[in-house]
């Protein structure tokens, strides 16, 4: 059964994304942290996610770097949820996306990766190198006051608007 699921996921990956394209790491800022034990709680909560390979928190600056297991399906929303379930909130979330090929980005460009769609907002059109850092825009990825500034410019325009993440560069 496990093998079958693995096979299905692999097939899904090939269908929806460029080969070898994936999120490799995330820089995350966490709000509400004032103690080392709180930071540790956040780290432990993120570590419970099966696609996470490693977490390195910066205690003084209350942010951290999360690296992912190669070939795993990364669910960015789960990271934000892990921070919330530890009792804190996300200040920023920037994900590094790596592909073998360059691609053209324009305003409201829709990118598919592993069942989710990523809609680029407030970007200047141009060719992107293989590695890009996407800043996630959303209620769960930004403090309330910062999200307010973005709210009106977020209109889902991709085909699959059910699981659309808004990102900017």
């Amino acid at each position: 059964m496990k093998r079958l699921i693995f096979l299905l996921i692999t097939v899904a990956l090939f269908l929806t994304a460029n080969s070898n394209a994936q999120f490799v790491s995330v820089e995350i800022g966490v709000n509400g942290l004032t103690c080392s034990a709180c930071t540790r709680s956040v780290e432990m909560s993120i570590r419970k996610l099966d696609f996470v390979a490693d977490v390195q928190m910066d205690l003084e600056n209350t942010q951290g770097t999360i690296t992912f297991k190669p070939g795993s399906t990364v669910d960015i929303e789960k990271i934000a949820k892990a921070v919330v379930s530890a009792g804190f909130s996300v200040r920023f979330l920037n994900a590094v996306y790596k592909t073998d090929s360059t691609f053209q980005v324009s305003e409201n460009y829709c990118m598919s990766y592993s069942g989710a769609t990523y809609q680029f907002v407030k970007v200047t059109a141009g060719k992107m190198p293989g590695n890009i850092t996407m800043k996630f825009i959303g209620k769960e990825f930004l403090p309330a006051d910062e999200y307010k500034k973005w709210k009106d410019s977020l209109k889902a325009q991709c085909k699959d608007s059910k699981s659309t993440y808004f990102v900017t560069l």
Binding site: A37, E60, S85, A86
Partner: protein
């Protein structure tokens, strides 16, 4: 033997140890992370003439959701006799015939056995959160229920070790950088205590003691005095200092013996209020466990349920049940001297 067992537990906690670094004596509005189990062992000690009064409590905490924390606390103490004092309506704790007697011209406390007091079930729900970089402001509501049924002989209710009953309140906590502030207020509705005495008495004497309802108001201030700047290392020791002000005002008790209301003639059973100050220190070990000590003195009025100073000790730890371990310390070793190996 008891001492050894306690020492062992303290050691166990300090080695294995996690925790939100917050107040030794009051609950913060923050909650236990979801799916995380916490353990806490508490002790309260004070000297009553020749007797050292001791209370030990064990608490299990669990983060049911990120906003809802539940706790169960079991406690035992040598604070109470098995029966109420015979001169209940007149008894005091500082005169002959109360909790003290004189031998060799020295006042002595009366021996009480250790009694298992009961359980306290507690739930806390975080209703408001406003996080910013290195600060947060939170509000939580809480309620607890205590099954305790012991011969507590003062009007003041206390649900950790003295009274059964229920309690509900609100907690407001503000953390900013190295500072922590919290205000808690709650209302206590204690259960009555009833004892039926048949020994040497006929007809049996049924005494019901109805304790006073109480309003609590606590204010806590904390400050991280070490380290100034966090090293990127969870094993770095942290020290926090606290001052907590615990206040309570309570109604008078009512004594009823075989249906006759007693005439209260002791301040212990009359209504009262007080504010105590508890300076405290907390040691954070492995960013996971904490050990703390607070010492309490009265600053306005005084409580009759303990003597002063009151010593409060506790160790606490979180269990994450994660297969993946946190990063090992990244603290670099000091550079080798230039002439090393020559």
């Amino acid at each position: 033997m008891k001492c050894k067992a306690l020492l062992f537990l303290a050691l166990l906690f300090s080695i294995a140890s996690s925790a939100q670094e917050l107040y030794p004596l009051t609950e913060p509005a923050s909650t236990v992370p979801q799916g995380v189990l916490g353990g806490r062992i508490m002790s309260q000690l004070y000297q009553e003439y020749s007797q050292t009064r001791q209370m030990y409590a064990t608490r299990i905490m669990y983060g049911l959701t990120s906003k809802l924390t539940i706790e169960v606390t079991a406690s035992t103490s040598n604070h109470h006799d098995t029966l109420l004092p015979p001169n209940l309506t007149k008894h005091t704790h500082n005169a002959q015939g109360g909790n003290v007697y004189t031998a060799d011209n020295l006042p002595r406390g009366i021996y009480y056995p250790f009694i298992f007091a009961g359980y306290n079930f507690y739930a806390k729900y975080r209703v408001y959160s406003n996080d910013a970089e290195k600060s947060h402001f939170r509000i939580a509501l809480f309620a607890d229920y205590s099954t305790i049924d012991v011969a507590h002989d003062e009007a003041e209710p206390e649900l950790l070790d003295d009274n059964g009953g229920y309690e509900g309140g609100i907690i407001v906590t503000k953390l900013i950088d190295r500072w922590a502030f919290s205000f808690t207020t709650d209302y206590i509705v204690p259960h009555d205590f009833t004892q039926t005495q048949t020994k040497y008495i006929w007809p049996p004497q049924v005494t019901t003691l109805q304790y006073g309802r109480a309003l609590e108001y606590d204010f806590s201030i904390g400050y991280r005095f070490f380290p100034n700047v966090y090293m990127n290392d969870y094993t770095q020791n942290n020290f926090n200092v606290y001052v907590e002000f615990l206040g309570k005002s309570y109604n008078g008790a009512e004594v009823n013996v075989n249906g006759v209301v007693g005439n209260i003639q002791t301040p212990l059973l009359e209504k009262g209020y007080y504010v105590e100050m508890y300076p405290g220190i907390q040691w954070i070990i492995n960013s996971n466990a904490r050990a703390e000590l607070s010492v309490g003195y009265p600053i306005l009025g005084e409580s009759y349920i303990h003597f002063y100073p009151v010593y409060d000790l506790a160790v606490q730890r979180y269990f994450y049940f994660s297969k993946s371990k946190p990063n090992p310390p990244v603290r670099k070793p000091p550079p080798l001297p230039a002439n090393y190996g020559e």
